[in-house]
Point group: C2
Chain length 242, copies 2
DNA sequence: TAGTGGTCTAGACCACAAA
DNA sequence: TTGTGGTCTAGACCACTAG
C-alpha cells in the first residue's frame, strides 16, 4: 500500500523500475496492469500512467493483447542525448570515475548575438564559466556556460560552480532550468581544444550549442560543449511522431 | 461533437493543433480543459491526454494554476532530431524543394559486425541502397540503408526505393519500422563525400549511424547518413527525466 | 478567493494476441 | 475463449496562480 508524496504515479513508477533493475521479472514479462494495481493498492489509471512514463524512458514496452515487457536493449543505453542532465552522471554511467575542473571564471559583457538569444540587452553582464570534465584522468568534455548575472539571486562560492549547472541555478539562481534547445554541430578541433582535450589536430568533434530555458520559457542560460567522441558515444532514440 | 475512429484523443489532439496553427488563440492562451471537454463533447481525461501529447511535441506548455499556452518557440523548430522520419519532409520544412536520387543498389553478404547488430547470420544477403537527398539542387544528405533480404516480403520496383525507408518497409517489408537507436558521430569528409556532397576537403560532418527496430524490438535495418551541417542544422530538445 | 491544471478513483467497453 | 492492454467516462479532491 503506497502513501502520498510525491505522487502515487511517481512512486509506482520507481517501484516497478526497481523491480525491473533487480531482475525480478526474469522472463522479461511484467505483471498485468490489474495485478499491479491491486498489489500496490492504487487504481489501474495510476499504474497505466506509471507504465507510460517507463515506456517513454525506454525501460519497458507494451503490446496490446499480449502484455507488458522489459525492454532490455533500452536498458543498456547509457547516454541518451535527449536526457543528459549532468555530465558527471553520464561518465559514471559509462563506468568512468568522473571529475570536474574549473578552468576559468570571468564576467563579460554580452555581445549582440548572445543578447538576442538570451533575450537581454547587449552589454549586460554575463558570468562565463569554463569547465573541463574528466573520465578517470582523461579529459572528455569542455563546456562553456554563459549565465546572465541578473539570473543569479544568491551569493555563491567558486566551488559551487562545480555543481551541474541545473543544480547551481536551482540553488543560487532566480529561475530553475527546465529544458534545453540544442544544436548539434560537427566541428574540427581548434588549437585550444587540441591541447585541452589531448587530441590530435584536426580531430572531428561534436559540439552542442544550447540555450537553457526556465519553466516559463524564458532563456536563462547559454552553453557550448565539445565532446571527445572516442570516449563518449552519444546515442539517441528516434521515434515517429503521429 | 467528435466521432470514434481513430481515437477521440487523437482527434482532439489534431483539432486543437489545427486551431493553434490557424492562430485562433492570438493571445497564446488555450481554453481551460473543462471548456475544451464540453466544446468537443468528450471527457476531461480525453482532453488531458490530447494536451499531454501536444505538450510532449513541444506545441504547448501548461502551468498549474495558470493555464495552458501556445509554445511559440517550440513551433519554430523544424528539425527535431528525435522525430525525423523522412528526409524529404525535413528539407521541405526548411523551405527547400527536396528531391531524392538513388546512387546505387546492390546485394552484399553481411559481414560479422553487421550480422551481429542485425541479429542475422554472417553471409546472409543484404539489400544496400545508397541515396542522395538534395535541397533544391544542392546535395545535403548521403544515406546508406542495409536491409536483410529476409525482411522483404513483396516484389518491388527500383523506383519504390525512392520512398522513405519506413514507408518502403511498411509497403514491401515483413515488419514495420518502429524506432531507431542512433549514434551521433562527428567525422571528417571522406573523398567520396567531398565529391558527392560538393564540399571542401576536411569539412567536419555529422554522421548518424542507426539500427532500426520493429514493433517487437527486432533489428530490421541498418542505416548510415551523413549531413551537410551548413544546409541542415539538427536540433534537439533535452529535458530532464524524473 | 476563484479558476486552473494535477492527481486519482472505479468502472465500462473495445481491440487484439495467444492458447 | 480468455486475458491482456487501449480508450473513455464522470466525478472527486488537491495544489497552485493570479486578481
Amino acid at each position: 500500500m503506497l502513501k502520498r508524496a510525491p505522487s502515487l504515479t511517481e512512486q509506482a513508477k520507481s517501484h516497478i523500475k526497481q523491480l525491473i533493475l533487480a531482475d525480478e521479472f526474469a522472463d522479461g514479462r511484467i505483471p498485468p496492469e490489474t495485478t499491479l494495481a491491486t498489489d500496490l493498492g492504487v487504481s489501474r489509471t495510476t499504474i497505466r500512467d506509471a507504465l507510460s512514463r517507463l515506456e517513454h524512458e525506454g525501460v519497458i514496452y507494451r503490446k496490446q493483447g499480449a502484455g507488458t515487457f522489459v525492454n532490455r536493449p533500452g536498458l543498456q543505453i547509457k547516454s541518451r542525448l535527449d536526457e543528459i542532465w549532468s555530465y558527471e552522471g553520464v561518465l559514471r554511467a559509462h563506468g568512468y570515475m568522473p571529475s570536474t575542473r574549473i578552468l576559468d571564471v570571468s564576467t563579460v559583457s554580452a555581445d549582440e548575438e548572445t543578447a538576442v538569444s538570451l533575450n537581454i540587452t547587449p552589454g549586460d553582464d554575463l558570468l562565463v564559466v569554463k569547465k573541463l570534465f574528466l573520465a578517470d584522468t582523461e579529459p572528455v568534455i569542455l563546456a562553456h556556460n554563459h549565465i546572465p548575472l541578473c539570473q543569479i539571486a544568491a551569493p555563491y562560492e567558486e566551488s559551487d560552480l562545480l555543481l551541474p549547472v541545473y543544480a547551481f541555478l536551482s540553488e543560487y539562481g532566480r529561475q530553475q532550468l527546465s529544458y534545453y534547445v540544442s544544436d548539434i554541430i560537427p566541428i574540427t578541433a581548434s588549437p585550444e581544444l587540441v591541447t585541452t582535450l589531448h587530441i590530435p589536430a584536426q580531430t572531428p568533434l561534436l559540439s552542442l550549442s544550447e540555450i537553457g530555458y526556465s519553466d516559463d520559457h524564458q532563456p536563462i542560460l547559454k552553453s557550448t560543449s565539445c565532446f571527445r567522441d572516442d570516449l563518449l558515444r552519444l546515442r539517441l532514440i528516434r521515434r515517429s511522431v503521429q
